[in-house]
């Protein structure tokens, strides 16, 4: 027995060292690390990524314990409890979650799904047929899709059925529930991943390579926004599904997550004709997306990969040259010193041309759009256009501003091609005060125009110019204060410093951002709304602003007193330090 095991292990090891598995491993690693992997990339291990992907499903399941617990149901007086009916909205949420997370991963791997110029130069000169590279990459994609789909849904596939079925007397119920749930969420994940892949394939096939490179950023942003928007449908869709009698005029027929919920209900024997139609849509869509991926991958491989040395992998062509008048105008009005003028040009061009940065800004703007739409949706049918705007209406520019400012500050810490930062190390002898000034002006230049040119006319049109002026003035003041808070300890030139040690403070930072969001977009508009009815309460803002400004001023002063320099390497403070107390003796 042991001999057979050893023999099998030896055979497996020998097989893993043959060309095809080696190629598959390389392709999988390449896709995982991304095509632009370099020393400045955030180094996330496979284990950490898989853990991060599994967390949302696990937590979401745990939070449902109180809904399905039989003791809690008894306390609530829910004598007759139908677990399948109660689980439907949660099932929808898990479908959406699996689709969004897997779609997000596919979006993250967008550039590396197809082999690139580096793969061409490393693999094609070797004595292996290009069809083997094609097959190896296809196998790697399938493996990663499967791994991703299983990982994202692993926790929820165990915990959610256990939560729902725990209170049921029959173990068979739990098993059946788990089987259907797992099948549906995994299919949802696979659909989402392949749908993103199909978009890449179609674009590569239809467009010239350079055009594809140029527009891929915008397409990714749109997909990211759509995925986020899908996440927010979990609040609305389940109630719509309950009332659904026909799909003919329902917007649900365009929503893939609703199709998979239909399939789930069909498998559970709870589908009405409308849900059955949605279920068939899910099956057709899944088969179609598989076929599209297969066709586009094959054709795209022949069309793009084999011609890579002819096109190169440069993103391309002419960069915008018609923006110099904007910069000249801003030089006169806002950026006065040569450092600020050069820094602003560099920052703006990096923000909009570097894929990672532009994607973060685009994604967060999309999130802001979704959050703002949700706020507006909640007012649907209410008195949104009364004589005075409600707190929700007042919160909309604050939602946009918060998301934009936080995202901009966040991407300032994300390095862009660190190997090129020598030029700043070599040329700059400026103090951090200058870099703070640059960061402040850049952030405000990106956020304030929207208030002046979009929010002010809209509020003015609906609620009068005085109210619009007051509200926009307050929003501007709040933007300035938030900017000051965000850059209180900033000692860098944007994009030129190594990654900060996120792992030391990630949890605190996330909590601070979430708390900040509620303070900024929920509490502030509420106080403002009250102040509009009783103007004396408006003085509260004055004291609050002064308090925030004073605190930031103190932090800034302490940073400068600590003899801060412009930093290019963010090294965490050592866990312990030798004080050399006896050195002076």
């Amino acid at each position: 027995m042991i001999k057979t095991q050893v023999l099998l292990r030896a055979k497996r090891d020998a097989y893993l060292c043959t060309p095809f598995p080696v190629l598959v491993r390389l392709c999988a690693t390449r896709i995982f690390h991304g095509s632009n992997a370099g020393e400045e990339e955030l180094n996330i291990s496979m284990g950490l990524l898989l853990t991060l992907l599994a967390i949302p499903g696990g937590f979401a399941s745990i939070f449902l314990f109180d809904k399905y617990g039989s003791f809690l149901q008894w306390l609530r007086g829910q004598g007759k409890f139908d677990p399948l009916a109660a689980a439907m909205p949660d099932e929808y949420f898990f479908i959406v979650l699996s689709m969004v997370v897997t779609g997000g991963v596919a979006l993250w791997w967008w550039d590396s799904i197809f082999p690139d110029h580096r793969d061409f130069m490393n693999l094609v000169p070797l004595p292996i047929a290009t069809s083997r590279i094609f097959c190896a990459n296809a196998v790697a994609i399938c493996l990663l899709t499967g791994l991703c789909a299983i990982d994202v849904n692993a926790a929820s596939s165990i915990l959610f059925p256990a939560t729902v079925g725990g209170s049921q007397p029959s173990f068979r119920f739990m098993l059946q529930f788990a089987a259907v749930h797992t099948l549906i969420v995994v299919l949802g994940s696979i659909f989402s991943f392949l749908a993103v892949f199909a978009v890449v394939g179609i674009l590569m096939l239809v467009l010239p390579y350079r055009v594809f490179r140029r527009i891929s950023l915008y397409v990714r942003t749109v997909i990211a926004t759509s995925l986020l928007a899908t996440l927010f449908t979990s609040f609305v869709v389940p109630s719509m599904i309950v009332d659904l009698s026909s799909t003919t005029h329902s917007p649900l027929r365009f929503l893939p997550s609703a199709w998979f919920l239909g399939l789930c209900q069909l498998l559970r024997g709870r589908a009405n004709p409308a849900l059955t139609q949605l279920a068939y849509l899910a099956i057709v869509a899944l088969i179609s997306v598989c076929l599209v991926v297969l066709i586009t991958y094959t054709l795209g491989y022949r069309r793009c990969f084999m011609r890579l040395p002819e096109v190169g992998d440069a993103a391309a062509g002419h960069l915008g040259v018609h923006t110099s008048w904007i910069f000249n105008l801003l030089d006169r009005l806002i950026f006065h010193t040569p450092f600020q003028q050069a820094g602003y040009r560099f920052s703006l061009r990096t923000l909009f041309r570097n894929e990672t940065h532009a994607l973060v800004i685009g994604g967060v703007t999309g999130l802001a759009l979704v959050l703002a739409s949700r706020t507006l949706y909640s007012l649907w049918g209410g008195n949104a256009l009364g004589s005075r705007p409600s707190a929700e209406v007042l919160s909309i520019p604050l939602i946009f501003g918060y998301c934009l400012l936080v995202a901009t500050r966040f991407v300032f810490d994300v390095p862009a091609y660190l190997r090129a930062n020598w030029v700043f190390r070599f040329l700059l002898t400026t103090s951090p005060e200058e870099s703070v000034s640059l960061a402040r002006r850049t952030m405000l230049c990106l956020s304030l125009p929207w208030i002046i040119f979009v929010a002010f006319p809209i509020y003015g049109h609906f609620w009068g110019w005085t109210l619009s002026l007051l509200h926009c003035g307050l929003v501007v003041l709040w933007f300035v204060l938030l900017t000051e808070v965000l850059i209180a300890a900033f000692c860098k030139l944007p994009f030129t410093c190594t990654y900060p040690p996120f792992q030391h403070s990630a949890v605190v930072m996330v909590m601070a951002y979430v708390f900040g969001y509620f303070a900024f977009t929920v509490i502030t508009p509420q106080i403002e709304s009250d102040a509009l009815s009783a103007p004396v309460r408006g003085t509260l803002f004055l004291f609050l602003s002064l308090g925030v400004w004073y605190s930031v001023h103190r932090i800034r002063k302490s940073v400068l007193e600590a003899d801060a320099k412009l930093i290019f390497e963010d090294v965490p403070a050592p866990a312990f330090q030798c004080l050399h107390l006896s050195d002076g003796r």
Binding site: P19, T29, A37, F120, V124, P125, L126, P127, I128
Partner: protein, 255 residues
């Protein structure tokens, strides 16, 4: 051993290489020279089979390389112009991968990789990710990858780029030694001194066409200059370097 017959390549109807023909024999080191944009890299890519010529053929031992591209690539070693390697692999991992894909049996492969890593001073950093390698180190990894399977033909595109003095010296001697061993070597470079010292034959390109080819001494006699720098200047340069230098100095002063 390797023969290029009237090779032409156009990118979107713009000709990059036109009617380039030459022969590379066993033991011959053919230096390919030319200014930027003269078609050197395109020629190299066609020789390695990375690019399909628009016209013409590349023959290896009398057979078109595209008839059995995999078999042909088994016999060539290639060092590309840019050391575009996978930064998340270590040097040893990369070489192991190349060796397996080349079909070198495992025990021999490990020993050969370690030997070459030691000889090219990469052994201490063999387990570090290549993201941390200098340009010279990456170049040496590529060189080992090219030599790993004892190729009959070596195609080197700027192999000295980024190498330190001693590594460059080793490589120059190595190229000569491999030539004496009977390998056919196609050597592309901008460094005229090295080409002059190492190569027995020359191929000079300008705007995608061959403007001179033959043995180094033959070309020297034909042009009437003893140094390669003068020959190159005579054949290729449209501009007077002295004149350009003067203009640059003036431009700096004016700024």
């Amino acid at each position: 051993m390797l023969q290029a017959i009237e090779l032409s390549k156009s990118y979107a109807s713009i000709p990059a290489v036109q009617d380039v023909s030459f022969e590379l024999r066993a033991g011959q080191i053919l230096g390919c020279l030319g200014p930027n944009g003269s078609g050197k890299s395109t020629t190299v890519k066609m020789l390695t089979g990375l690019l399909q010529p628009s016209q013409g053929r590349v023959l290896f031992r009398g057979e078109d390389i595209h008839r059995d591209l995999t078999g042909y690539r088994k016999r060539i070693g290639y060092v590309p112009e840019e050391p575009n390697l996978y930064p998340y692999l270590s040097g040893r991992e990369y070489l192991e991968m190349v060796g397996i894909l080349r079909g070198i049996p495992q025990p021999r492969l490990g020993k050969r990789i370690d030997n070459l890593l030691v000889l090219l001073s990469l052994y201490p950093s063999r387990h570090s990710a290549m993201a941390s390698y200098s340009k010279g180190m990456r170049q040496r990894v590529l060189l080992i990858a090219a030599l790993l399977d004892d190729p009959e033909v070596l195609i080197l595109d700027e192999p000295l780029s980024g190498l330190d003095v001693s590594s460059a010296l080793v490589l120059k001697n190595l190229i000569s030694a491999l030539g004496r061993e009977g390998k056919a070597i196609f050597y592309c470079s901008h460094v005229l001194e090295v080409v002059e010292r190492v190569c027995s034959h020359l191929l000079i390109l300008r705007r995608g066409t061959v403007i001179a080819s033959g043995s180094t001494t033959e070309i020297q006699q034909r042009i009437g200059h003893s140094s390669l720098e003068h020959i190159f200047h005579h054949l290729v340069d449209d501009v007077d370097p002295g004149e350009v230098t003067r203009k640059i100095v003036d431009a700096i002063r004016a700024a």
